[in-house]
């Protein structure tokens, strides 16, 4: 128990270190970009005006030595002050917190679908590795991986926007649903979530089905599975209770590792479906040259990945009891 606590604390310390490192990268980027950082920060504010520039330099402490600036920046960021967005004229942190929910909802729904369905398909395919169904899963995983995620989304928009209009193809809420009860609202969001989440899930579904098929095949060939079968255990118990639990390890590892890619995919999916998340915020920030917001989104999505990795690390202990004592 105590050992577990120490490990958790160690992981937490590493995670905090990573967040600080991400902030350092942001700081470096602002200062490495061509031109005056004051200009970069000013963005569309109209940096040509000398008086404005002087004010910016003073407010951001750009007239101070570089290392001093760095620690000021770090201190402000840690306290949640990520600057002000010039396009929205609001604190960046407020903008981000407002968009965090939709992105997390989208990414987690997609990830959950991908893991559950993907693993299910992989397990099915591993039971008869040379069957037709297994071949279909293999082909599907190759196709799913090679489809550009934004193209998949667009094909779905064409399908459900033109051919079979039963799904909303843009946004997160229907104007007509505003003012309705909480259940109605949740149902409305869920309805809007179907296509974006499906788009994002397809890519990862493909990878998880392939991975779990390979992983299951390896586990099913091991001695303890033969023992379990020899004991006369039923096929279902052997597959799900004995084999799957061990086959899950690589799946969880990859899920954690890929969380960053998942967020990258979400940026594209949000753009296609006008989903009001961090990705569309980042793209708007780019179009408006709103650097504080853009870097804020980068920081926050990195934090999401760090948290996801932390959860992955801890879930190993739940899956594999051997790790609990360490």
């Amino acid at each position: 128990m105590q050992r577990t606590l120490v490990t958790v604390l160690r992981r937490l310390a590493l995670a905090v270190g990573l967040v600080l490192a991400v902030l350092a990268v942001n700081f470096t980027l602002i200062h490495a970009a061509p031109g005056d950082p004051a200009l970069v920060i000013a963005g569309e504010m109209g940096g040509a005006d000398e008086a404005t520039m002087a004010t910016i330099r003073k407010t951001y402490g750009l007239d101070r030595p570089l290392h001093e600036q760095f620690f000021t920046y770090l201190g402000k960021s840690v306290r949640g002050d990520l600057g002000t967005s010039y396009t929205y004229n609001r604190p960046v942190i407020d903008l981000i917190l407002g968009r965090l929910g939709p992105t997390v909802l989208l990414v987690l729904t997609a990830l959950l679908c991908a893991i559950v369905i993907g693993t299910g398909l992989g397990v099915l395919a591993s039971r008869r590795p040379d069957s037709f169904g297994s071949g279909v899963v293999t082909v599907f995983s190759l196709v799913g991986y090679a489809m550009p995620v934004f193209w998949t989304g667009i094909l779905l928009v064409i399908l459900f926007g033109k051919v079979w209009p039963v799904m909303p193809i843009a946004g997160m809420r229907d104007v007509r649903a505003f003012g309705a009860g909480p259940w109605q609202a949740a149902l409305d969001v869920a309805h809007h979530l179907v296509l974006p989440a499906a788009t994002l899930a397809i890519v990862y579904l493909a990878q998880y089905s392939r991975l779990s098929r390979a992983s299951m095949l390896e586990v099913l060939g091991s001695d303890y599975i033969r023992t379990a079968r020899a004991k006369g255990l039923s096929d279902a118990v052997v597959t799900f209770k004995h084999a799957l639990r061990n086959a899950l390890m690589p799946i969880v590892t990859i899920a954690g590792l890929q969380f960053g890619n998942l967020i990258s995919g979400a940026v594209l999916v949000e753009t296609v479906f006008s989903w009001p998340g961090l990705g569309t915020l980042a793209l708007d920030a780019i179009l408006g040259r709103d650097y504080p917001t853009l870097l804020g989104v980068l920081t926050f999505s990195a934090i999401l990945v760090i948290v996801a990795n932390l959860i992955t690390d801890l879930s190993y202990r739940w899956i594999d009891p051997r790790l609990r004592g360490r």
Binding site: V22, W151, I286
Partner: protein, 285 residues
């Protein structure tokens, strides 16, 4: 079955070429490559010029096989030339990523100790930065051009290779052949480049192939968002610029997307074939 011993590379080719899917991938890639190398010259229509009325449907006008987009630009011309930028950027970015990844992974695995610790932390840092967002920031801060896009993709795509190279170098550094070379007085550089690297190559080649596919998808994503060079036609750019009109001209987004899909599929089929051919453990299955 002949029992004659083949050289490792000949043996690899034998396994690769007996894999139907991999050979299909190779053929697909050859067709895509031929299309973009010779296609634009033979077709002779510029992808940026107005070729006809906007929203001309495909297969209706014999002069405009694949129709026109929302500006009246010839979709076929774009499909033919749009792969050049995509594949060029994909290959160069993969080269950058593999170079960074192998260098960092090799140093970490070979030297171990604090070098390994420091480099592994750096790798971890780049792993938590969502690649597309980070590339978006780089491209925005440094202005979009093909060079910046190559660099941006290369800088975010190397972590997997680094982990793999580190593991391989860690494993090989203390094997007998490396110790023998060390005893003969080989320096660090010689050991890493001439002794260990060749033995670590097979998995690294497979990983490099996969990175090429990922980098192509990445370039397409960036161009789709309008963050690549706007003066170079690419498949992603075609899809992105027609994004607001997809319900009026599905063909302007479907055909370039199908090309990206075919290219990436070909590359991953080849990657799978190489994996089977170069990974001796799988031969027995």
């Amino acid at each position: 079955m002949s029992t004659e011993a083949l050289s490792p590379w000949r043996e690899a080719w034998r396994v690769f070429s007996s894999n139907k899917a991999a050979v299909l991938g190779l053929l697909m890639l050859a067709v895509v490559a031929a299309t973009m190398v010779f296609g634009p010259g033979l077709y002779g229509v510029s992808a940026f010029d107005i070729a006809g009325a906007p929203f001309t449907a495909p297969f209706t006008d014999p002069k405009l096989w694949l129709g026109t987009d929302y500006l009246g630009r010839d979709v076929l011309a774009g499909v033919l030339i749009g792969g050049r930028a995509t594949v060029l950027v994909g290959l160069s970015a993969a080269a950058v990523a593999v170079t960074i990844g192998v260098t960092i992974g090799a140093l970490a695995g070979y030297f171990g100790g604090w070098v390994d610790l420091a480099l592994s932390r750096v790798t971890e840092l780049f792993q938590v930065l969502p690649a597309l967002l980070f590339a978006m920031v780089l491209v925005t801060l440094f202005r979009p051009s093909l060079t910046v896009v190559v660099f941006a993709i290369g800088v975010v795509a190397w972590t997997g290779t680094a982990r793999l190279a580190r593991a391989e170098f860690l494993r090989l550094t203390h094997l007998e052949f490396a110790n023998a070379a060390r005893a003969l007085g080989a320096g660090h550089l010689r050991l890493m480049l001439r002794e260990i690297l060749p033995n670590a190559l097979p998995p690294l080649i497979v990983s490099a192939t996969l990175i090429v596919g990922a980098a192509i998808l990445f370039e397409a994503g960036l161009s789709f968002l309008g963050l690549s060079d706007p003066n170079v036609m690419s498949w992603g750019l075609m899809i992105g610029s027609n994004r607001r009109n997809i319900l009026e001209c599905w063909w302007a987004v479907t055909f370039p997307g199908a090309m990206i899909f075919a290219t990436v599929l070909a590359v991953s089929l080849i990657g799978d074939g190489l994996n089977d051919a170069l990974n001796p453990k799988l031969h027995l299955r």
